[in-house]
């Protein structure tokens, strides 16, 4: 008897495409030893910007967070800002005030008027924090992971609340590249799988057969070996971690004639080409994703 192997295979394949994903699958927990509260000084001076190495000078010193803002840090902000009335709960969103941008009605530009905007969504299964109606908490195991599912407004709000700012694209780029050469990655010229968390990089947090990539704890790629998984020390010349991969990082620039905000660094969900220092991504400022986070900058 002929067996309908072809159609059967097709059905199995289609069913596998629709199989549910366990977003709370067990997570390995590792201590990286990198302090998310640490800051690195970036001195004033020239560096090579962009793919084509244009010399650019930043004429002031600044400090930038050594790691992405972590879930713990952001949760602390949410609790404090909610308590003092800086933030509000509006349905299934945490919202905060943004004073707006100048609107020039350029083609495709969307007006960002002064108003309350989404900082983080509530109840999104991909978020790594929880809200019990009164207080926020980090999901167990994710405390030291980068804060994700945070909009540009949410990143801007966190930095501003603490007296910091989001780094400009140029500040971000200099912090990633240093000022001595034209390296494409924060650590040098080549990328290996254990340099960073990127798509199918086979790190201990991913399962490409099920939930795909997940974030790694901030500062994970520091040369340590975790449960048999050896990482390479992938700090930038100024000692910053995760400037390539893990999560895209919001930057602070609001450009004339566009509402988009720019992201840098690539993420756990992108191929390594997007981890190159000069690569830009952008999105509407209300966009949030499990692959998007941020870090802040400040005056020294």
């Amino acid at each position: 008897m002929k067996r309908p192997i072809g159609p059967l295979l097709a059905v199995v394949l289609l069913l596998s495409a629709c199989s549910p994903v366990d977003l709370n699958a067990p997570l390995p927990v590792y201590e990286t030893g990198v302090d998310p509260e640490a800051w690195a000084l970036v001195p004033a001076g020239e560096f090579l910007s962009g793919q084509h190495n244009d010399p650019v000078t930043i004429e002031y010193d600044y400090e930038i967070m050594v790691t992405d803002a972590s879930v713990s840090q952001y949760v602390a902000f949410l609790n404090q800002a909610l308590a003092d009335g800086t933030l509000d709960i509006d349905g299934d969103q945490v919202v905060g005030f943004y004073p707006g941008d100048e609107f020039r009605a350029v083609k495709h530009e969307v007006e960002i008027a002064a108003a309350d905007y989404l900082f983080v969504p509530l109840g999104d299964p991909a978020s790594r924090f929880a809200f019990d109606g009164t207080a926020f908490s980090a999901n167990p195991g994710y405390e030291a992971h980068p804060m994700t599912n945070v909009s540009w407004f949410g990143a801007w709000g966190y930095c501003g609340y603490n007296g910091y700012v989001l780094p400009s694209e140029l500040e971000w780029e200099k912090a990633a590249r240093g000022s001595t050469d034209d390296r494409p990655f924060p650590w040098g010229d080549e990328i290996l799988r254990n340099n960073a968390n990127f798509y199918a990089s086979r790190d201990p947090f991913e399962n490409m057969g099920s939930f795909g990539s997940r974030t790694s704890p901030v500062g994970f790629y520091n040369g340590q070996t975790y449960g048999g998984y050896a990482t390479l020390d992938s700090a930038s010349p100024y000692g910053l971690y995760d400037m390539a991969g893990n999560v895209w990082q919001w930057t602070g620039d609001a450009y004339e004639g566009q509402h988009y905000r720019y992201l840098r660094g690539g993420s756990k969900d992108t191929y390594e080409m997007d981890l190159r220092i000069w690569v830009r991504n952008n999105a509407t400022p209300t966009y949030y994703s499990p692959g998007v986070g941020f870090r802040c900058a400040r005056d020294p």
Binding site: Q51, H52, L263
Partner: protein
């Protein structure tokens, strides 16, 4: 020595030999360089290939590499179309020979030296030879346009079954001519900014600057160039398929003016992006694309009617199923027309949806998602054109019986599985979140790779067969050596 001379004569002096060489070069390039990205990189195949072939892949040069890769494949496709046109249409022997000589040398130089420059270190001598190759192709295009001049009385259409003017000017030839001339002009829209950015060595991919509100004239030119060149290659293959299927009758008479008008207006719209007309350029492009696509629809209707008519000949009152069976009986004839229809679901439809709902849907997504749509969209169009060429090529090399059926259906089904999967992948954000997409991504990736991988395997089998055939004293190549005139095979 005679052995080699005979084979080289076939490969480089006959229509079918020249097409075989170009198909083989594309197959080889696709097989090798396809291993450097996507899932092949994920599986670690890329690293092995890079090491084994001693490639020199500098991160900052990736965009430039890709641009040369696209161009070298595209040039071979343009060469194939030129061989087909010079084999199908009446023209002076001098022009036929000259076009073939220049375009063959040109695309081989562009492909070999361009890829050498791009992937094995920046040797500027190779870059010079690459540019020289592109220049020869352009020159061949000028000769082709001259050869296609439709107001030459010798080229007049005497048969009233075909679209012609009262004086007898062959409207189909005008369509070929218009497409060739606009292709030459549009090539300039790439060549000029190519020189500008290339000399400054600042290569970029158009999809990476698409959201910038202010683009320079040169950047607009690059965006216009890549769109129009692919559209023109598609229009040219539509005309070629029409000639192969002996497109004629009332539909031909309607279609040809539509294609001529559509091609010219489409080009005017694209050229307009570098002028003050930029704000309305897209509208002009839509106005041009519509009649061009309607013309292609006429060809599909004509071709399918013809296939049905021929397939049910002898049956007095054919049923719907009998007509359907007749339509799909010969995949090599049905396939090119079907691919033109399928293109609407995977290319045109997606493009229109994106244009109509750009700000409401697609610009709410990050730029990298939009990049996936843009690149997926035109990769599919390129690949559809390639499958149409392969289907015609299957007929050209005389595939018969079961092999013909298997080859034809394999190309149609495998490519369409891959294209449908690409389309699902591009549009996935419409129906699935980032956090839960992995199983769907895995499945569509698997289907894409399966479809395209198997397609390449089939192509490799055909190429191996053709290679083995070359070693036979009286192989298929000896027959093809005498089949220079493709119009003799038009039925």
């Amino acid at each position: 020595m005679q052995f080699v001379r005979d084979r080289l004569n076939y490969l480089f002096r006959s229509t079918k030999g020249l097409i075989l060489v170009a198909v083989a070069m594309i197959a080889l390039e696709t097989a090798v360089f396809g291993m450097l990205s996507g899932p092949m990189a994920e599986f670690g195949v890329r690293d092995v290939v890079v090491r084994a072939m001693r490639m020199d892949l500098v991160q900052a040069e990736r965009e430039g590499r890709i641009i040369i890769l696209y161009h070298s494949i595209a040039m071979a496709v343009v060469a194939i179309e030129s061989y087909m046109i010079t084999g199908l249409l009446k023209m002076k022997e001098f022009y036929r020979a000259a076009v073939r000589v220049f375009i063959t040398i040109g695309y081989l130089m562009a492909m070999i030296f361009g890829m050498g420059f791009a992937y094995w270190g920046h040797n500027w001598a190779l870059h010079g030879l690459y540019i020289a190759g592109l220049t020869l192709i352009f020159f061949a295009g000028v000769l082709l346009a001259i050869a296609l001049w439709p107001w030459n009385k010798e080229a007049y259409q005497l048969d009233d079954a075909y679209a012609r003017t009262k004086r007898g000017v062959d409207m189909e030839r005008v369509a070929f001519f218009a497409t060739a001339v606009t292709t030459l002009i549009s090539a300039g829209f790439g060549a000029i900014p190519g020189s500008f950015f290339g000399n400054g060595f600042e290569a970029f991919l158009a999809e990476n600057i698409i959201r910038y509100p202010e683009k320079s004239t040169m950047e607009y030119s690059v965006i216009g160039h890549l769109h129009i060149m692919l559209a023109l290659v598609a229009i040219m293959i539509t005309l070629i398929i029409g000639r192969w299927l002996n497109f004629k009758g009332i539909l031909h008479k309607i279609a040809m003016p539509l294609i001529i008008l559509g091609t010219i207006v489409l080009n005017l719209g694209v050229w307009g992006v570098v002028t003050p007309l930029e704000p309305v350029a897209h509208m002009i492009i839509y106005v041009g694309a519509t009649p061009a696509m309607l013309g292609a629809l006429m060809l599909v209707i004509f071709g399918w009617q013809k296939l049905i008519r021929e397939g049910v000949a002898g049956i007095q009152k054919p049923t719907f199923l009998q007509k359907l069976a007749a339509l799909v009986r010969d995949p090599l004839k049905f396939g090119p027309l079907w691919q033109m229809v399928f293109m609407n679901f995977t290319v045109s439809g997606i493009g229109i949806l994106m244009a109509v709902r750009l700000d409401e849907i697609f610009r709410l997504w990050p730029a990298r998602e939009e990049r996936i749509e843009l690149t997926g969209h035109w990769h599919v169009l390129s690949a559809i054109i390639a499958t149409i060429i392969l289907l015609y090529y299957g007929d050209m090399i005389g595939l018969k019986g079961k092999i013909r059926t298997l080859y034809g259906w394999a190309i149609i089904l495998l490519s369409d599985i891959a294209f449908a999967s690409v389309t699902l992948f591009e549009m996935k954000r419409l129906f699935i979140s980032e956090a839960t997409q992995q199983p769907l991504v895995n499945t569509v990736m698997l289907l894409m790779d399966f479809g395209l991988g198997m397609l390449l395997v089939i192509l490799a089998m055909v190429m191996v067969w053709r290679l083995a055939d070359l070693f036979k004293k009286k192989g298929r190549w000896t027959e093809e050596r005498g089949q220079d005139d493709l119009s003799a095979e038009v039925r």
